[in-house]
C-alpha cells in the first residue's frame, strides 16, 4: 500500500517534469483503484455498479485538468483520493434524482465481481459529439485511432502546436460539458 503510493508520487513528479510515459503509467496504475472505489460508492448508494466507468473517466479528466493544484512535495494519493471523493459524491448526487431499483441486498456480491463486468462509459463519448469539429477530430484521432500528435498534425494538415491546443481545449470543454449536464 505504502510502496504503491510512493511509486505514484514518483511517477507524478516525473510526469510533471514532462515525462508523458510516466504519466501514462501512473494513470493506468490508479484506474483500477478508482474503479473499485466508484463501484463501492455506487453499491453503497444502492445504485447499479455498472455505471462506474463514467465516474472513473470523470475523475481522470478532473485529475488531468487540475494536476497543477498538486504540490510536488506532498504525497500524490491523498490529493488523488480527494478529487475522486469529490467526483463520486457529485455523480451520486446527480444520479440520486433518478429512480433506481434498490440493490442493497446484492451490493456485496456485485461489488466483488470482476471488473470486466462493467458496462462501457457513455457520457464522455456522448459529449464528444457536441464538440466543435476540429477538437472532436483531433480527440478521436488520438483516443480511438491511437495516432500521435505528430501523425494527427500530418493527417489534418495542421501544425503540431495547433493539434496540442485543440487537444487541450477539447479535453477542457468536454469536462465543462460533463459538469453542466
Amino acid at each position: 500500500m505504502r510502496e504503491r503510493e510512493d511509486e505514484w508520487t514518483g511517477l507524478m513528479r516525473q510526469a510533471m517534469s514532462g515525462d508523458g510515459a510516466a504519466y501514462h503509467r501512473l494513470l493506468k496504475a490508479v484506474t483500477p483503484v478508482l474503479r473499485a472505489a466508484a463501484r463501492r460508492g455506487l453499491a453503497r448508494a444502492g445504485q447499479p455498479v455498472d455505471q462506474s466507468e463514467d465516474i472513473v473517466q470523470d475523475i481522470l479528466l478532473a485529475v488531468h485538468l487540475k494536476r497543477h493544484t498538486w504540490d510536488a512535495n506532498a504525497p500524490f494519493a491523498p490529493w488523488l483520493f480527494a478529487i475522486a471523493r469529490n467526483k463520486l459524491i457529485d455523480a451520486l448526487r446527480r444520479r440520486g434524482r433518478r429512480i433506481f431499483v434498490n440493490i442493497d441486498d446484492f451490493a456485496e456480491t456485485i461489488a466483488s465481481e470482476p471488473a470486466a463486468e462493467t458496462a462501457p462509459a457513455s457520457e464522455v463519448a456522448a459529449q464528444l459529439q457536441s464538440l466543435p469539429p476540429r477538437q472532436r477530430e483531433v480527440l478521436q484521432s488520438i483516443a480511438i485511432e491511437a495516432a500521435s500528435i505528430k501523425d494527427t498534425a500530418a493527417k489534418f494538415s495542421m501544425s503540431e502546436g495547433a493539434v496540442s491546443v485543440a487537444l487541450h481545449r477539447g479535453l477542457a470543454s468536454l469536462t465543462a460539458k460533463l459538469r453542466e449536464q
Binding site: 504519466y23 493506468k28 483516443a143
Partner: protein, 212 residues
C-alpha cells in the same frame, strides 16, 4: 470512449502546463483593481484632510485592519484552492485582522475622547460605507472567483466566502481613505456588516461557479 483510450489522450496532453492558482489569482485581482479604483474616484475620492488624517493613528489603523483581512484571506483562499485542503487551523489566520481591530478598540477606550461611544460607533458615513464597500468589492470578487476557479476547491461555498473576504478587504482599503469616521468602533460595526454582505455573496456565487 474506453477508459484506456481516454488515458492515452490525457497522456498525450501532458505537455500542456497550467499556471499556478496564485499566479492566476494575482493576475485577475490586478486586472480588476483599476475598475474598483475608478469606481472609487468617480463616486467618492480621497477625503480632503487626508494629509492631517495620516497623523491620526486610528486613521492609519483602518488600513492595517483592511489589508490584514485581504492578505490573510488571500493566503487562506490559496490553501483552499487545493482539493485535499480543509479550513481546519487555517481559519485562525482570519482572526489576525479581528485581533488588530479589537486591540484598536481597547486602546481607544483607554484614551480620553471628545465624542461619546455611541456617536463614534454610529458615525456619519454608515450608509456610504454599506453601499461603497460592497459595490467596489464586486469587480474584485469576480476576479477572486476567476482565480480560484483555476484551482480545485473541495468546498466551493467556503472558498467563495473567502473570496468575498479578499475582495471586501481590498475594497474597504479604498473606502477607508474616503471615510472620515476613524473610530475602530465604527470600523468594527459598519465595515464588518459590509464585509459580511460581500462574504455571503461570495459564498452564494462560489457554490455555483467554483465546482470543478
Amino acid at each position: 470512449m474506453q477508459t484506456d483510450q481516454l488515458i492515452r489522450t490525457l497522456a498525450a496532453d501532458n505537455a500542456h502546463h497550467e499556471r499556478p492558482v496564485a499566479f492566476v489569482l494575482a493576475l485577475a485581482l490586478l486586472a480588476a483593481a483599476p475598475v474598483s479604483i475608478a469606481m472609487f474616484f468617480a463616486g467618492l475620492g480621497v477625503r480632503p484632510d487626508v494629509m492631517t488624517a495620516m497623523h491620526n493613528p486610528f486613521f492609519d489603523l483602518k488600513f492595517v485592519v483592511t489589508l490584514a483581512l485581504a492578505m490573510s484571506a488571500i493566503v487562506v483562499s490559496l490553501h483552499l484552492s487545493r482539493p485535499e485542503a480543509s479550513l481546519h487551523g487555517w481559519a485562525l489566520l482570519l482572526l489576525i485582522p479581528v485581533g488588530i481591530l479589537a486591540g484598536g478598540i481597547a486602546v481607544e477606550m483607554m484614551l480620553p475622547q471628545r465624542l461619546p461611544m455611541m456617536t463614534r460607533l454610529v458615525g456619519s458615513n454608515s450608509r456610504a460605507c454599506l453601499t461603497a464597500i460592497p459595490l467596489m468589492s464586486l469587480p474584485l470578487l469576480a476576479a477572486a472567483l476567476i482565480g480560484l476557479r483555476h484551482g480545485a476547491p473541495a468546498r466551493p461555498a467556503v472558498a467563495g466566502a473567502i473570496a468575498g473576504l479578499v475582495s471586501a478587504g481590498l475594497a474597504a482599503t479604498l473606502y477607508a481613505s474616503h471615510c472620515t469616521d476613524d473610530s475602530p468602533l465604527f470600523v468594527a460595526t459598519w465595515y464588518s456588516i459590509a464585509t459580511a454582505l460581500v462574504t455571503a455573496i461570495g459564498a452564494l456565487a462560489g457554490s455555483r461557479v467554483l465546482r470543478y
